[in-house]
């Protein structure tokens, strides 16, 4: 299960040790180079182990801004990236998220070269039991301090409860279910990218205001799809739209013709797909095949990733709208990261992968600021310091542990407008953070009450 495990050495490690994304091997190398002279001379002079230890302590205090090694558990900050490394969700996050985390560690090393960071990777195979087993082992045996990505709602809910019990930080990227920062929110579980409310609220409001007020849903039959449909139906009923029904297909279905036919005969004005990944790709392909693109019903992808568009090709995806928290071609900074990522991975980063970068970097900065990797102190810093990078500007965590940032309503360009292979979106509207999130007053998260009563 721990497929990539600790063995993956950083691609950049050999070029420049100080920039290394701290694998075990690189780390020892680094340490032996910088510490050996002190250590040796201490032994030679005093010939006692105690003196050697004190020499190391002096060394630690000498490097003024460095975090004292004693405050970091095992002397290393261990970050675990767990996600779907090989299955249906592996292109939108998967190994690309690991690359993003490495880039974040690389950038952090420029700020704090002395803090040792180690990266672990695991494949949860979209199975909740495997996910929680790995995380339990990481925390109990391997000394992992923070877990990031996850990217599957069902697995995320399982990991959430393990991390809550063990008081360890988990940062989610592409986890759709609103439960994670709603009813099942946790003091240590942070939603960095989006949830289903962020994704559906803006398009539903916009379309219903344009008269597109009856919706039919085609959704994947697991925690994510179920939750997305119920969120959508709730918002629809709040603003006077109506749901013409929903059909739930098993995860990994390849033929959608039957569901498309059901959607067609529902007479709804809007057909919304809540499945994402290769399921959405196959469904859209067949949507066009059955001539639905020429019909009167409007199609909406409630969640779509850049890799899905790439896979469909702009010919099929053209005109599709969706909501995304991030896109590589937004501005110079995002483009710079896109190109850097592209050099390693030969494809542009998706929003979840950018979120992993941002989350890992903010976590490490918070560890450095707190001077420790103990969960409570780091959480304190993560809350008090704003996130300020190409992913989110001046964004803060709110009481239910959601990072509050802007979203973008994007539309896939016409094939003729697409200049390069990954330049698929045009931004139709920016959804300001103030509108994109479920108001805290409506939150089911038990933390919200306690947080506001503390203030």
């Amino acid at each position: 299960m721990d497929v990539v495990g600790r063995k993956n050495p950083s691609r950049h490690g050999n070029r420049n040790d100080r920039l290394s994304a701290g694998t075990t091997r690189n780390m020892h190398h680094h340490r032996s180079q910088s510490i050996k002279p002190w250590y040796r001379s201490a032994i030679r002079n005093s010939k006692t182990a105690a003196a050697a230890l004190s020499a190391m302590a002096i060394m630690a205090t000498l490097s003024a801004t460095t975090v004292s090694a004693a405050e970091i558990s095992d002397g290393v900050v261990r970050i675990g990236i767990i996600n779907d490394q090989s299955g249906t969700l592996s292109d939108l996050a998967g190994p690309g998220s690991v690359v993003a985390a490495k880039l974040a560690i690389e950038d952090f090393k420029k700020l704090k070269p002395d803090l040792k960071v180690e990266l672990l990777t695991a494949d949860h195979q979209n199975k909740a039991d495997i996910g929680s087993q790995v995380v339990r082992r990481w925390i109990d045996v391997d000394g992992v301090d923070m877990i990031a990505d996850v990217g599957n709602s069902a697995v995320a809910l399982a990991i959430q409860s393990v991390a809550r019990d063990k008081n360890k930080i988990v940062i989610y990227s592409a986890v759709g279910t609103t439960e994670i920062s709603g009813k099942q929110c946790s003091p240590t579980g942070i939603a960095w990218l989006h949830d289903n409310y962020n994704l559906v609220a803006a398009p539903i409001r916009r379309l219903v205001s344009e008269g597109q007020d009856s919706w039919f849903f085609v959704a994947a039959d697991y925690a994510f799809g179920r939750n997305m449909v119920s969120e959508s139906q709730r918002i629809l009923s709040e603003i006077g739209g109506k749901s013409a029904g929903a059909v739930f297909h098993p995860l990994g279905t390849v033929d959608y013709s039957s569901f498309i036919l059901q959607a067609s005969s529902s007479q709804a004005k809007v057909i919304a797909f809540a499945n994402a990944g290769d399921q959405l790709v196959a469904a859209m392909k067949q949507w066009n095949e059955f001539g639905m693109d020429k019909g009167s019903q409007k199609v909406v992808a409630e969640l779509m990733f850049l890799t899905d568009v790439h896979s469909m090709g702009p010919e099929i995806a053209k005109g599709l709208t969706t909501v995304t928290a991030w896109y590589w071609d937004l501005n110079d900074e995002t483009r710079a990261f896109g190109r850097r990522f592209y050099q390693v991975r030969s494809r542009m980063p998706t929003a979840p992968q950018a979120a992993v970068y941002s989350a890992v970097l903010h976590y490490l900065k918070s560890v450095a600021a707190a001077g420790t990797d103990s969960t409570d102190a780091v959480m304190e810093k993560m809350r008090s310091m704003p996130v300020d990078d190409f992913f989110a500007r001046g964004a803060r965590l709110r009481a239910d542990n959601k990072l509050v940032h802007d979203f973008y309503l994007v539309q896939v360009k016409e094939p003729a407008e697409v200049k390069g292979p990954w330049e698929y979106y045009k931004v139709v509207a920016t959804i300001p953070a103030s509108e994109a999130y479920l108001p805290l007053s409506q939150s089911d998260c038990p933390l919200v009450g306690t947080a506001s009563s503390q203030k």
Binding site: S86, G87, T88, S90, D91, L92, D221, V247, F248, H249, P250, G252, T253, V254, D255, S257, S258, F259, L261, Q262, S264, S265, G277, D278, V281, A282, K285, Q286, E289, F290, G291, T307, D308, H310, S311, M312, G313, E315, I316
Partner: protein
């Protein structure tokens, strides 16, 4: 009676037709499996992977060599058939003397290797493959819109299925083949080169998988996971039809497609398991399968 089981009869017709289309896919894939099992006694777990390879060969031909759909239909089947021949000659051949289980394990391992290699190279999202110009568009049948391409898939699958059935059950070559399965030594004594015939049979069986892969490419994505998505269902079809029974594979493939189509209307959540429920029931009542003979 404007509604049948709660849905308008027109919608039901549409769903039945879609079921038939999917069923013809199942029939084509399970046909190759049935031929290989019936003639060689090999449980070919690599069938799904070779179906995927067929689709990828078509995609590679299109993107790298500019060979279109019709060319790919022939070339990809030949390439996959050749891959099959090589596998049979170099590996599978050594396992005929031992238990079936070893053949199953070998082909399962091969399937994992093929799938892993393609996944490593191309990722899981899949590559787009366009519908050929000649088969674009569709016809409005009144109760549903039938894409021309799906109609073509049904016709092509049925033709290939019937042709194969005829070749094996009604021609002299088929008779030799069936005789060689029963008693290879005796058939060899009549001057027929049995090992070559067996290799060619395996090659033909997997070429059918390659062909199905090309037929599937414009409907589904060309993805490394496409084989493992479908192979288990296809195995269930073969088991229900009766291991090795060619007619059984064809009829069961179509029937289960219809049944799955109906499940997608009445209880879509169960559409992926209905085939296995049927399989369990059939195995309890008639362990040799609907068309199988007890040995």
């Amino acid at each position: 009676m404007s509604h049948l089981f709660g849905i308008p009869p027109q919608a039901l017709f549409g769903q039945l037709l879609l079921g038939l289309i999917n069923g013809s896919f199942y029939a084509l894939l399970s046909l190759g499996l049935a031929v290989i099992f019936g003639m060689l006694n090999v449980v070919n777990m690599a069938h799904g992977a070779l179906y995927m390879v067929g689709a990828f060969v078509a995609w590679l031909l299109l993107t790298n060599a500019g060979v279109g759909y019709w060319g790919a239909l022939v070339l990809a089947s030949l390439v996959v058939g050749l891959v099959g021949l090589v596998l049979e000659r170099t590996m599978l051949r050594r396992l005929y003397k031992v238990d079936h289980l070893y053949g199953l394990l070998l082909t399962f391992g091969l399937a994992l290797i093929f799938e892993g290699a393609f996944r490593h190279q191309y990722g899981v999202s899949g590559q787009p493959y366009p519908i050929p110009d000649l088969l674009k568009g569709g016809t409005n049948l009144g109760f549903m819109y039938l894409p021309t391409y799906r109609g073509w898939v049904v016709v092509a699958s049925l033709l290939v299925c019937l042709g194969t059935w005829y070749a094996i059950e009604r021609t002299k070559l088929g008779a030799y083949l069936r005789a060689a399965t029963e008693n290879p030594t005796l058939v060899q004594a009549f001057g027929i080169n049995v090992p070559v015939m067996v290799s060619l049979t395996y090659g033909f069986g997997v070429a059918l998988a390659g062909l199905a892969g090309v037929l599937a490419a414009p409907i589904y994505q060309v993805s490394p996971l496409m084989g493992s998505n479908i192979i288990i269902v296809v195995f269930a079809v073969v088991v229900i039809g009766g291991m090795g029974s060619i007619l059984g594979a064809i009829v069961t493939g179509l029937g289960l497609g219809l049944l799955e189509g109906l499940t997608k209307v009445f209880y879509p959540e169960a559409s992926n398991i209905v085939v296995f429920v049927i399989m369990a029931v059939v195995l309890m009542v008639k362990p040799a399968g609907l068309f199988g003979r007890e040995k």
